[in-house]
Amino acid sequence: MTTAPQTRHVPDRLNSRAARIFKSWEALLLAVAIAIFVINSFASPYFLSAWNLSDATFNFTEKAMIAFAMALLIISGEIDLSVASIIALASTAMGLALQYGAGTPELVIIGLTVGVLCGAFNGFFVTVLGLPSIVVTIGTMSLFRGISFIILGDDAFRGYPASFSWFGQGYIYWVFTVEMLLFVIIAVIYGVLLHKTNFGRAVYAIGNNPTGAMFSGIRVARVKFILFLLTGLMSGVAAVCLTSRLGSTRPSIATGMELEVVTMVVLGGVNILGGSGTIPGVVIAAFVMGLVTFGLGLLNVPGIVMSIFIGLLLIGVIALPRLWAMAAARRTP
């Protein structure tokens, strides 16, 4: 936004399909994921164990569920920083319902409904009132978690029914958890939605050129509103899983998770300014982050130090390609 108009380099012929796949961000990311996997298995003898690896997936499954919806939202040029607070509010609502004797099905419905309602609230401010999503969701980030604090104070809800623990602690078969299954299903749904449907094309169009999208007949505001609903819904799903896994609700639940979700999306190759990105990229990014945090955990690195790595990863993945491009531009005058 700062520089004068630039001349654009137009190649004589396009790269072949194979070369494009090979040079893609996803391929690079996959190589990084494999490298981390190999390094980890040498660094700690406990890494290569089916059960340990299964436990490691909890590091990213819940965040990745939100990251898929967030990826679409960011591709369309918006952002939602309130997802962690939606988890807190949805979890609090479930805890509150529990006090009135709700069973497992009701708890799940309430969790998801609160998520969707929070998404609708964000979507209303952004699409109907036309406010910047970053400010709106910074506001709702305080508001949603604030409501949890009003309801709970420094207390906690406990005593979720045994059947409710299935979502966060259950296993489908051997080491494969319920959350893994959800992760795969949601990844496939979002992959199809973004890459194979009109809706997905509309999301890219809006992110690249909202005015152009509007003139080609896309209902920009409606698509964005749906994306906020989906992000809210996914936060609700994550709230069900997380609450079920922890077995309790505190108002400080999932604090700072929005940062990890955004990091995951950006690491997955989604342009933070909108317009490009893929679901497979986000899937690989989820594994990269899960493997990094799990490997560091096995080496007894405390959580807050891991957050340094997450922060460096976030800045590094955006900075390195730009440094690369700058160096390349210097070489070819």
Binding site: M1, T2, T3, A4, I79, F125, L129, G130, L131, P132, I134, V135, V136, I138, G139, T140, M141, S142, L143, F144, R145, G146, I147, F149, I150, G153, D154, N209, P210, T211, M214, V220, A221, P251, G256, L259, V262, T263, V266, I272, L273, P302, I304, V305, M306, S307, I308, I310, G311, L312, L314, I315, I318, A319, R322, L323
Partner: protein, 326 residues
């Protein structure tokens, strides 16, 4: 007319007055001058940080790392104080401002030279700074009995009836008032935020201006880091956790447009004071402090909705692109 009486600031000032009157109708003691001075003193760190944040937001950026910067600087100066209790306070202040400015410069360089979106940069540095606090302190606290008496006494020292902490806020307000209205840097900040393309053609380096905005914000966060740690006489990893949102809230409530270019020193100060009054009034009117977070969240939403309404009628941008209306 509207130039003489800024509408937004007047409305906000009126809202604060109404709030004070409502509280005083039940608790007359709240508007006693000594209590108001206390409220101001308690709000001073927020005012200082909001002014730094204002400069950053005016240039179309955002700095979410201020609270982490504050905490890291606070921890560093506290540890310096423990290691060298004899070090005079001016040196400590200089170290705090310098260290904060360096951290701001890191943000600024990434935004300026690599044109990474500011929100990504500062989300990243926010966690990195917090992590570094843990690394240098080993997760331990620096408690009041380890700090030298001079170190903790400074922000409390009274000059002309007000503590140094309050004076720090007042001096910052005056300096910013002069800087924004009377210096080339101040004017270029508005130019960069208002229309970056036009700014380029008038010879302003947009990236460099954004860089210096981050340095200013960082330096103030550093200064506040020392004042915060010495005032509460404790330093640990999580001090001022989530405070960056309160700072952004103060700016948004004060009418500083997140899209850049619109805002005033008075607005930022009033926004901070509004939040300060609410925070101090809650325990007085017997509402649980747990309401604080939800109230500031609602205040942000109301303020941003209100500001965009009032901004729309003014027609500030004549050739407003269709893109911006989306």
């Amino acid at each position: 007319m509207s130039r003489l009486i800024p509408v937004r600031e007047t409305i906000l000032a009126a809202a604060i007055l109404v709030l004070l009157l409502l509280i005083s109708s039940r608790f007359a003691g709240f508007i006693a001058p000594s209590n108001l001075a206390n409220v101001f003193n308690d709000t001073a760190p927020l005012i200082i940080l909001a002014l730094g944040q204002m400069v950053v937001i005016l240039t179309r950026c955002i700095d979410l790392s201020v609270a982490a910067n504050l905490a890291l600087t606070g921890m560093v100066v506290a540890m310096i104080n423990v290691a060298m209790p004899g070090l005079p306070i001016p040196v400590i202040l200089a170290v705090a401002v310098l260290l904060g400015a360096v951290m701001g410069a890191v943000n600024g360089i990434l935004v300026w030279k690599l044109s990474i979106p500011p929100i990504v940069v500062t989300l990243g540095t926010m966690t990195i700074f917090r992590g570094i606090i843990f690394l240098i302190s080993d997760g331990k606290w620096v408690n009041s009995h380890e700090m030298s008496p001079a170190f903790t006494a400074f922000p409390r020292m009274e000059l002309l009836g007000l503590p140094v902490l309050s004076w720090a806020a007042i001096i910052t307000i005056i300096l910013f008032g002069i800087m924004m209205a009377r210096t080339q840097f101040g004017r270029s900040i508005f130019a960069v935020g208002g229309n970056p393309h036009a700014a380029v053609y008038t010879g302003i380096d947009v990236g460099r201006t954004q860089f210096w905005a981050f340095v200013v914000s960082g330096a103030l966060a550093g200064l506040t880091g020392y004042l915060w740690v010495s005032r509460f006489a404790v330093a640990y990893v999580d001090i001022a956790g989530g405070f960056e949102l309160e700072v952004v809230a103060a700016c948004v409530i004060g009418g500083i447009s997140i899209a850049g270019g619109i805002g005033s020193v008075g607005g930022a100060v009033l926004g901070a004071i509004f939040l300060g009054v609410v925070k101090n009034a809650l325990p007085v009117v017997n509402i649980s402090p747990f309401w604080q977070l939800a109230i500031s969240g609602s205040a942000i939403l109301i303020a941003v909705a209100f500001n965009s309404r009032s901004g729309r009628t003014k027609g500030r941008i004549i050739l407003k692109s269709a893109e911006a209306t989306q």
